[in-house]
């Protein structure tokens, strides 16, 4: 069974009607529950739950401290290529965009890795545009082997692959997989993914599951907010993570909450995710999935990130560069604009000042 079967069950579900029937008592009951079902999750995502956001945030904080303590995991992204064979309306790497294209040579990967390692952070996420031709499996394996010399945990965010290819990467040393569905609404999915491999909705939807089957220990998923209906997209993201964590008990699930901001490219977002809704979604994720990592990237500004740390974030990037070769000699355009431009030391100092323990290393290469 695929997550698609679960998703399809909601095809005729009337979210509007459901939200109309949600009342304060239902929201309070859902906050207090130990194990939330999908309707509790919906109650917390409902427009009415915004009136009780402080209460929800307090509980989310309490659950986070019980599960993670006063700690925050650190990681850094490394962009090794921005070639892409798909045309996606919202993305800076889209093949239609006339940007400077670059793929790092293995020597350049090593130079970047050495530079990033100076921060002391031992977790790395390496990213490419989605081009199987320019960045084939062998190249990804070679990059992994170099990164493993400098980092104890290596995760990938590349084009979706088969379980067999993921197994090869797992053997090469990849520990984790990040893949975003971007938008769970099928019609909208097809309208923003114009051409290329990424147009295959179902293949993408099953990608995290193939990764879990291949043995990756961390799986990170999420919707890109600004394309579909906010509540529905958050609901399906949470449901997807729950499905994976129920089925693959051994996997550590993580959720990101990327959002398109107004200033980005030519793409006109379908409704901006505002800060209040962002916090609401984050807290609902936490209460629905108490042990899920919640990852906040430098897409968000420093002040907002510092505030989220106190609620229920568990994973931060710090001092990220989103250009190919960005840590040493960037020439390319970034995939997205960074809002939190602080260097990693500054972020780490701030984490400590706020009374949290920055975690540089939380895995050992074995």
């Amino acid at each position: 069974m695929s997550f698609l079967n679960k998703l399809n069950k909601y095809e005729s579900f009337d979210f509007k009607e459901y939200f109309n029937n949600v009342n304060d008592e239902m929201i309070f009951a859902s906050i207090e529950k130990k194990e939330l079902n999908q309707f509790d999750f919906l109650n917390l995502l409902s427009p009415k739950a915004k009136n009780h956001l402080e209460k929800i945030a307090q509980k989310a904080h309490e659950v986070t401290v019980a599960n993670f303590g006063y700690t925050i995991s650190l990681y850094l992204p490394i962009y090794v290529s921005n070639y892409c064979s798909s045309d996606c309306l919202y993305c800076g790497f889209s093949k239609k965009n006339k940007i400077h294209r670059k793929k790092l040579t293995l020597e350049e990967v090593e130079i970047e890795a050495r530079e990033i390692a100076k921060t002391g952070i031992k977790h790395i996420l390496f990213l490419t545009g989605e081009s199987r031709k320019i960045t084939p499996l062998e190249y990804l394996c070679d990059v992994t082997k170099i990164l493993k010399k400098y980092f104890s945990l290596v995760a990938i965010e590349v084009y979706p692959m088969s379980k067999e290819d993921y197994e090869v990467l797992f053997e090469a040393g990849v520990d984790g997989l990040t893949v975003y569905q971007e938008v769970y609404d099928k019609t909208l999915y097809h309208s923003v993914h114009v051409s290329g491999e990424k147009t295959n909705y179902e293949y993408r939807l099953d990608t995290p599951e193939r990764g879990a089957k291949a043995g990756f220990r961390n799986i990170n998923i999420g919707a890109l907010f600004g394309i579909g209906d906010i509540q529905k997209e958050a609901f399906f993201s949470g449901l997807h993570a729950k499905y994976l964590s129920d089925k693959y008990l051994e996997c550590e699930l993580g959720l990101s909450i990327p959002r398109i901001n107004d200033a980005e490219g030519d793409f006109k977002p379908n409704g901006i995710l505002d800060d209040t809704s962002f916090v609401q979604i984050m807290c609902a994720y936490r209460l629905f999935l108490p042990r899920a990592e919640i990852n906040i990237s430098t897409r968000e500004n420093s002040q907002f990130r510092d505030n989220l740390l106190n609620i229920c974030a568990t994973k931060f990037s710090a001092g990220s560069k989103t250009e190919v070769g960005g840590y040493t000699k960037a020439k390319t355009e970034p995939q997205f604009e960074i809002s939190d431009k602080r260097e990693s030391e500054e972020v780490i100092q701030r984490i400590q000042d706020l009374g949290y323990e920055p975690v540089y290393k939380n895995w050992e290469s074995i």
């Binding site: 401290v65 019980a66 599960n67 993670f68 303590g69 006063y70 700690t71 002391g120 031992k122 104890s152 220990r217 964590s245 129920d246 008990l249 051994e250 996997c251 550590e252 699930l253 042990r291 400590q352 009374g355 949290y356 323990e357 975690v359 540089y360 290393k361 939380n362 895995w363 050992e364 074995i366």
Partner: protein, 253 residues
């Protein structure tokens, strides 16, 4: 004295290094509560970065109990145990094989396998398990130096939800029984010690308290009180009254 492997300890409180706001709090916590054994996740040991390296925050007179947190099967646990020994963490190893990232429940079957391999290899093995007496007997045979059944899931602070199962283990064990996980309050720790547990491991409740050192002290006192009560053989509450006309009086016993 609590004897584990070839070492003896006067304190029956085992502590942990996870979840603290500040690694610098660990030293004060240890001084205040007198704990002599502390568990550390090998995955958090960072030899390359002295400032981040958890080992640099633990006084030298404390016995390290590295754990295999992150291992999903026996093979990974054995690998991590060996890295721990090579990193200078000593011979003690707490086996944590977790195949469930949701509740963090241990995999008893894989834990038995790892115990057998590591005990043969000269480790002092303390396996963390779901409280199951049959598993405990297998662990004794495999060479475990203690068993560590859980009181309730890690981080839950829910107390001794597995009381009856742990009681069975305590009453039949040939190795020390250390209750690990879920102990959220000193009153939970007292309960475990009154039952005859040999020790209690507490991490989350101490690390996430507003004042970790004070919390650790409270747990240490509770563990001492529980131990004394156990040794004093305080009469348990009776659910029946002393019969005024005995049923077996005619036997002239």
């Amino acid at each position: 004295m609590l004897k584990i492997g070839d070492k003896e300890f006067s304190s029956r409180l085992l502590s942990g290094t996870g979840k603290f706001r500040d690694k610098n709090d660990i030293k004060g916590m240890l001084e205040r509560c007198g704990s002599q054994i502390i568990t550390i996740a090998l995955r958090r040991v960072n030899l390359e970065n002295p400032q981040d390296n958890i080992l640099n925050y633990i006084p030298k007179n404390i016995t390290l109990l590295p754990n295999t947190s992150g291992a999903r099967n026996a093979k990974e646990a054995v690998r991590i145990a060996n890295i721990a020994r090579e990193s200078g963490c000593g011979n003690f190893i707490k086996i944590e094989v977790i195949h469930d990232a949701k509740y963090l429940m241990p995999d008893n079957e894989e834990t038995v396998k790892a115990t057998e391999i590591l005990a043969k290899d000269g480790f002092t093995v303390l396996p963390y398990i779901s409280p199951d007496i049959v598993t405990c007997k297998k662990l004794e045979d495999a060479g475990a130096s203690a068993v560590m059944p859980l009181g309730s899931p890690i981080g839950s602070n829910a107390g001794l939800q597995t009381k009856h199962l742990i009681e069975m283990i305590i009453n039949n064990s040939f190795v020390p029984v250390i209750v690990d996980a879920g102990i959220g309050l000193p009153s939970h720790a007292v309960q475990a010690m009154e039952m005859g547990a040999d020790g209690v491991l507490i991490n989350t409740a101490i690390a996430t308290a507003q004042n970790p050192a004070l919390a650790a002290h409270a747990f240490a006192l509770a563990i001492k009180a529980g131990r004394m009560a156990y040794l004093a053989k305080i009469e348990k509450q009776k659910s029946y009254a002393n019969a005024s006309s005995p049923l077996t009086g005619f036997l002239n016993l």
